[in-house]
Symmetry: C2
Subunit: 237 residues, 2 copies
């Protein structure tokens, strides 16, 4: 077990043409980390994994605990070893939080995770809705997402940062998922302002990029016609 490795199963790019089969179980994924984010087969909600427990924010606004047989086409996990970066007690918008972390750490050229805990205000999340086979493309799915909002909520925001060079494989820049302390609100963060809380960071030296090489649809797909970067920019940023 190493705490300097970020493990990623699948790529952001494979979701663009709708290669959304669940190609790894939660049971296997959790052997690579106790902390992470991802989605389920067919883009079944937004996952956040904290302390070894996987939660799913679904498109109906519910937060579910998911079991070992739940499968994912795309997820990132690592073993938590966060170091406190700073405490915040004046309101900090999400873009300011991102700039603060980059300025303090100088980690822009590697992968890292940020764990922000505390009270947030004006939090907007989205959760994608599961599609059945034949799976929809990422653009079609993004048009069917549900949006949720809380004026004020205590919770945890787990963020991953990837260097722009890896955009398409991972999400270039920051990518945030949220879970409320009450486990009644969460998802992919569209907006969040930290009101009072703590920001912690964990730097990785290694990306362990695992591909679904046993999935025939993935292996036989011709990616050359997919508008990967346009569709990702639309759906993930």
């Amino acid at each position: 077990m190493t705490t300097s490795t970020l493990y990623q199963h699948g790529t952001l790019a494979l979701m663009v043409p709708g290669l959304l089969a669940g190609t790894m179980t939660m049971k296997e994924l959790l052997t690579h980390g106790d902390t992470g984010i991802g989605t389920g087969e067919g883009l079944d909600g937004e996952l956040i994994i904290l302390n070894g427990v996987a939660y799913q924010a679904d498109s109906f606004g519910k937060v579910n605990t998911i079991g070992p047989d739940f499968t994912t086409p795309f997820a990132s996990v690592h073993f938590a070893d966060f170091k406190k970066l700073t405490a915040v007690d004046a309101q900090l918008a999400q873009p300011e939080l991102e700039r603060l972390v980059l300025k303090q750490t100088h980690w822009a050229n590697t992968f890292f995770a940020v764990l922000t805990t505390g009270t947030f205000v004006d939090v907007t999340t989205r959760a994608v809705a599961k599609s059945q086979k034949p799976f929809k493309t990422l653009a079609e799915t993004a048009d069917q997402q549900s949006i949720f909002h809380k004026d004020e909520v205590k919770g945890t925001m787990l963020s991953y940062y990837s260097p722009e060079l890896f955009d398409g494989a991972a999400v270039g820049g920051f990518h945030h998922h949220f879970l409320s302390d009450a486990h009644d609100f969460g998802g992919h963060v569209l907006n969040a302002n930290l009101k009072k809380g703590t920001i912690a960071g964990q730097k990785f030296a290694t990306l362990e990029q695992h591909l679904p090489v046993n999935n025939a649809e993935y292996m036989s797909h011709d990616f050359s016609d997919d508008s990967i970067y346009d569709d990702i920019a639309h759906a993930e940023h």
Copy 2:
């Protein structure tokens, strides 16, 4: 030890602005594989690693065995477990060899290695020349490479293939290095025709991408102004 992982130290992109410090020793690199390719600090020649021994084709046309303290800014290694794909006894040009392997394996969407052994004709290689600090950019170095040629030579061509999605981190598509059986000729392959020999392949499920996070120049560099894809296309393809 796993034979389904390709380990890469550094990225192709970091060579573009000349971040060429040797950030990993051969001793450490060889703990991640017994087979591979790479370059030395300051783009010190073209490396090929076979059966756990690292060889350097230098810009003077010599092939040197390199020791454990030799350092590299960029290298790829894995533990060899090649399976024979085909025997060839009619002349096969390099682009035909690439198409044959892709057609036979359907591995285009993952990382893999190809080991071709036998007699080659009309082989042209290049070897870059070491630059001292402050290191030259990749474009400047590529203009100072040496070119070598053999009408006919017995040897080994080690090739890595990376999906286009990872171009910039790795070399998208195929990347070939060569070493003659007599250890008197080698380098980065610009052209090679297999006359008679054997082609073997090894598929990877995982790319283990390690970054030089302890190198201050790498971590503080602003990549946003580098013309990464143009310079790579010029120098590596």
